[in-house]
């Protein structure tokens, strides 16, 4: 679903008094040089560390204010801040994608939204707000998924900023942008600026697809999500979290065969809370609360306005520098920690030659002889580098070795689960792994030991 909000009219404002309207007209007719005096300082003057390629002056300003087209992915905590900053820095052709609607719990930080907006599309409300506040900027919203767009769409931007809370979406856009790079066409390389926050901490990075480390290169740096073993949940609960997982993972599907658990439905959370609290009471475990139930089930990450402000500003600063060459780019990763005084650490994340997205080399994997296909699959899902949940495996030829879906292929290949992997392939053979979480297919060269 596409929705284009048009910029508000610049001439008539019926709600204003005549003196306000006069002030408004006076501001709108103020020359750019006066309005943008603060920004022009760093575009007209060179800094000590400014790159030689910096032109500055009118040419740079024209590119920033007239030509540059920038895409913002996510209109949430970071997205709202990013849109505000880009508009004020002089970017005038901004596009924003978000598939979410506004929830009341967004209002403590997503400052472009008000209580009356709850339930509306984030991208559309955010775009309208920014256009109302900053005259002259055009923000084009898209209410939907990033996967709805093809390469041609992404190719039309000069750069992309992501403020996402999903690893999967980041992997997808990263793989798409790396895949788009055509060595003969420098225009095909789209810088990707990515930010993320958790509580008082956050990080910002600049990715030049194929040139610098990409998102996939550093998958092993992500903190693995907390996973509780099923046997603990089922048999030996010790923590309140174990009781909550029991209610959501084991009890819910039993009680409601055809109804999917909806994390956003308070009635569903209520049911889980009651179940979990009852089990906890039975075992003498303390600490099951409504808030914890919701936190565990939704995997809620604490989020505050100030951290989003810091990280979004760092990202937009990089966008501005890339668009104007007024200062060198971040090379290429900054970590910020605000809970223990102020601490920031900048370092260069190196490209991983074995990166399945930008490395170009097949990933080597050592497997013990006699490993069953079933345990091999388990190995893959536990590997921090891949972050996959339900992989399907094909022979190098493309023939299915074990496929999770569609059903007829599952039936055809499930007997292989019981077999040893070295019965099916020889040492040095390549296999291909695909998974819903992977926006690409992963080629592995298996070495038996």
């Amino acid at each position: 679903m596409t929705a284009i909000a048009s910029p508000p009219p610049l001439h008539r404002h019926p709600s204003l008094t005549s003196s306000q309207d006069q002030a408004r007209q006076r501001y709108l007719s103020t020359p750019d040089a006066e309005k943008y005096a603060a920004i022009d300082r760093v575009l007209d003057r060179r800094g000590g560390r400014t790159h030689e390629a910096f032109v500055g002056g009118q040419e740079t300003k024209e590119f920033l204010r007239k030509t540059c087209k920038i895409l913002v992915i996510g209109a949430g905590g970071l997205g709202c801040e990013i849109l505000q900053n880009l508009a004020l820095m002089g970017f005038r052709d901004i596009h924003v994608i978000d598939m979410d609607t506004i929830d009341i719990s967004n209002l403590n930080r997503q400052f472009l939204f008000r209580e009356a907006d709850v339930g509306k599309a984030k991208s559309i409300v955010a775009a309208e707000f920014v256009m109302k506040r900053v005259p002259g900027v055009k923000v084009t919203p898209y209410y939907g998924k990033i996967q709805d767009h093809d390469e041609a769409y992404y190719k039309s931007f000069n750069m992309i900023i992501t403020g996402l809370d999903s690893v999967e979406a980041r992997r997808w856009i990263n793989a798409t942008l790396v895949g788009m790079v055509d060595e003969d066409d420098p225009e095909s390389l789209k810088p990707l600026i990515d930010g993320g926050t958790e509580g008082f901490k956050g990080q910002a990075r600049v990715i030049l697809p194929t040139m610098s480390a990409c998102y996939e290169c550093s998958m092993d740096m992500l903190t693995p999500p907390t996973v509780f073993p099923i046997c603990t949940i089922a048999n030996t609960p010790r923590l309140p979290e174990h009781c909550i997982e029991w209610a959501s993972v084991l009890e819910w599907p039993k009680a409601f065969k055809d109804k999917k658990l909806d994390n956003d439905d308070p009635d569903h959370i209520e049911w889980l809370y009651q179940k979990a609290a009852d089990r906890a009471k039975q075992y003498g475990i303390e600490g099951v609360t409504w808030s914890l139930t919701q936190g565990v089930v939704k995997n809620i990450i604490p989020a505050i306005a100030s951290t989003n402000a810091i990280i979004a500003a760092a990202c937009c600063n990089e966008a501005f520098k890339l668009a104007t060459t007024s200062a060198p780019s971040l090379d290429n990763y900054t970590m910020y920690v605000g809970n223990d005084s102020i601490y920031a650490f900048t370092f260069k994340h190196e490209k991983n030659p074995e990166c399945p997205v930008c490395g170009g080399e097949t990933v080597d994997l050592k497997v013990k002889k006699g490993t069953k296909v079933e345990s091999f699959i388990e190995m893959l899902t536990e590997n921090q580098r891949f972050q996959i949940k339900k992989p399907s495996i094909s022979f190098g030829s493309g023939q299915p070795l074990f496929w999770q879906a569609p059903p007829q292929f599952y039936e055809q290949t499930k007997h292989n689960l019981e077999k040893d992997l070295d019965e099916l392939i020889a040492s040095g053979d390549e296999i291909t792994v695909t998974d819903k979480a992977l926006p690409f297919s992963l080629d592995l060269r298996i070495e038996f030991e």
Binding site: A38, R238, D267, E270, N308
Partner: protein, 590 residues
């Protein structure tokens, strides 16, 4: 609601447990309550914040405080809205042009959260300083803007407000002051003393494996591992396994405890009780062997608090924090507390074991923790009565909260900014870094010089086009003096733009025989360039406020404000330099 009743009825026959479904306010603040909890939220909802001057960075800071729900804020400035204000500040509108800067910004900031009160005070800070400097102390926190955008606030006003607040003595109001110029900025906190009970450490377990309390030791040694079936055996919590192995090890080694070099021998003792290789509890125990080599003691930070004069000389006027620390000291020395350690923490990490034995172990810790807390509270009562306070002067709830966090207490003592920077101050800066002159150190000096320039001339460097280069050259010479490096830059020339040019080196052929002098000169040139670049960057920005720099600084200021208001987490004590040319941040104590 109705739906949930149907759901519960349809699927369970359990007694309904009272729902604690969150109300609208809790839902709005959910993502932050998971950080600072209701106690932190309560402090925020009582906070009264003053912003002196009004620019983009200041308004961004307020935005990040209005959203989480402070009680009220005031903006103090006599300035009128200019076109430059509107284009950089998201909380102004085109129709605000020419209007009161304070009123316009307050109106739009208030929209962010209907439960926050906002007040515009259209007086000039200078006027208030002359008439009633103590007025600034009526706020819980003061933030002073620092770009050149609001002419109402300059270097002098910042200094005077800092002094007025400092003169509040122990009742001083904390202050956060900022300076921004293009890509670079400075944030400084000022407070006399800031005490934190809940610093939010990564974890708060005190397992005491090396010094088990009586009940833990008796329980661990009393277990009969021999007669357990394999199921039970593989579910004995690792804490108990370690306590047992430690006792055996000590017996066999003349009472000596395992140290780093003897961990293998200790592991061997541990393995004696292992029945099968796949026993996960033993694997966990092996992974935690380092815990046995560590000796439980009163943490150095807490020890120094107990030796602090504020603890020694508590009186009825002391802060609760110091009365509590004094009670903690009494607890440690109390004859009933045989360990001589701080009160035990009731929290236990998860470990491989059955539900029953985990709960059992947890109850052992809880019981001891409760006994320690009771003893602590009796120590507190004594301290309170000694200074002539009522036994209830500190509530039981506050005392419990203190005990819970007593291993990671913090007291920061702040300072006023130096009026003159010396080579010695800067040398301290070097130590914070890698004994090297960095852009952060140089920017801190450059900001200091810019402030001095403003104090003297009333203008900021980089704002008067005719003086652009001469001011830069002056600042470079002043920086050399502060750095105590009079020879700095002796081998470099400057062009008309103030850019550095390094005099041609000797012939390249001589590179093999590079003398010590050559190395020194190269090093000097590098340092000269860092100083020059930093001065250049501040003059380039001309104390104007870039919206991205403002947003970043606004975020930093709000985080510090939240830490100071909630008295949770560790605040910045001193200066933080923001360098967005490269994207780094560094902090300094000055």
């Amino acid at each position: 609601m109705e739906d949930s009743v149907t759901l519960a009825e349809a699927t369970t026959d359990i007694q309904p447990i009272a729902s604690h479904r969150p109300d609208a306010k809790t839902r709005r603040y959910d993502r932050q309550l998971r950080l600072w909890a209701s106690s932190g939220q309560k402090s925020l909802e009582e906070a009264n914040v003053l912003l002196v001057g009004c620019d983009a960075a200041g308004c961004q800071a307020l935005k990040n405080l209005v959203l989480p729900g402070i009680a009220q804020f005031t903006i103090l400035t006599a300035s009128k809205v200019t076109a430059g204000d509107i284009s950089t500040n998201f909380f102004l509108l085109p129709e605000s042009l020419g209007g009161s800067l304070a009123e316009e910004a307050v109106r739009l900031l208030k929209e962010l959260n209907p439960s926050v009160q906002g007040h515009a005070d259209p007086r000039s800070a200078k006027q208030v300083l002359e008439e009633d400097p103590a007025w600034f102390r009526s706020f819980g926190l003061v933030i002073v803007c620092g770009s050149g955008e609001d002419a109402d606030v300059g270097a002098e006003v910042t200094r005077k407000i800092g002094k007025a607040l400092w003169e509040g003595g122990q009742e001083d109001t904390p202050m956060i002051s900022l300076r921004t110029s293009g890509f670079v900025a400075k944030v400084r906190t000022q407070f006399r003393e800031h005490c934190v009970i809940d610093t939010h450490p990564d974890h708060s377990h005190t397992l005491r494996i090396d010094t088990p309390f009586r009940a833990l030791e008796d329980y661990a040694l009393g277990l009969d591992l021999e007669s357990m079936d394999s199921m039970e055996h593989s579910h004995v919590p690792y804490v108990l396994l370690l306590v047992r192995a430690l006792r055996t090890f000590e017996k066999e080694n003349d009472g000596k405890r395992p140290i780093y070099d003897t961990t293998d021998a200790f592991k061997e003792v541990l393995a004696r009780e292992r029945k099968a290789l796949d026993e996960e509890n033993f694997a966990e125990a092996e992974g935690q062997v380092f815990a046995v080599t560590q000796i439980s003691e009163v943490p150095a930070g807490v020890k120094s608090l107990m030796d602090d004069p504020s603890c020694e000389g508590v009186s009825k006027d002391s802060k609760d924090f110091w009365l509590l620390v004094k009670a903690l000291k009494a607890f440690v020395a109390h004859p009933e507390n045989k360990s001589g350690l701080l009160p035990l923490s009731a929290s236990l990490p998860d470990m491989h074991t059955s539900t029953a034995s985990y709960i059992n172990l947890q109850n052992l810790y809880k019981k001891q923790a409760m006994a320690d807390a009771t003893l602590f509270k009796s120590c507190l009562k004594e301290v309170l009565s000694e200074v002539g306070l009522d036994g209830e002067a500190i509530s039981e709830g506050d005392a419990d909260e203190f005990v819970k966090h007593c291993h990671t207490l913090l007291c920061e003592r702040g300072s006023q900014p130096k009026e003159e920077l010396t080579a010695e101050d800067v040398a301290d800066d070097f130590l914070m870094e890698t004994f090297d002159l960095t852009h952060g150190v140089a920017l801190n000096i450059a900001f200091h010089l810019a402030e001095k320039h403003h104090l003297k001339t009333g203008t900021w460097p980089g704002t008067v086009e005719d003086e652009y280069h001469t001011v830069k050259a002056q600042m470079f010479d002043q920086a050399k003096a502060i750095l105590g490096m009079p020879e700095l830059g002796s081998n470099v020339d400057r062009d008309d733009d103030g850019r550095l040019f390094i005099r041609p080196e000797q012939d390249e052929d001589d590179m093999d025989e590079e003398t010590e002098e050559d190395v020194e000169r190269r090093e000097e040139t590098r340092k000269a360039k860092i100083v020059q670049d930093s001065i250049c960057e501040i003059c380039r920005g001309g104390m104007k406020v870039l919206p991205t720099t403002a947003a970043l600084v606004g975020g930093l200021v709000a985080q510090e404000a939240i830490k100071l208001i909630t008295k949770q987490y560790s605040p910045l004590n001193g200066t933080c330099i923001v360098d967005l040319v490269k994207g780094g941040m560094t902090r300094y104590p000055i």
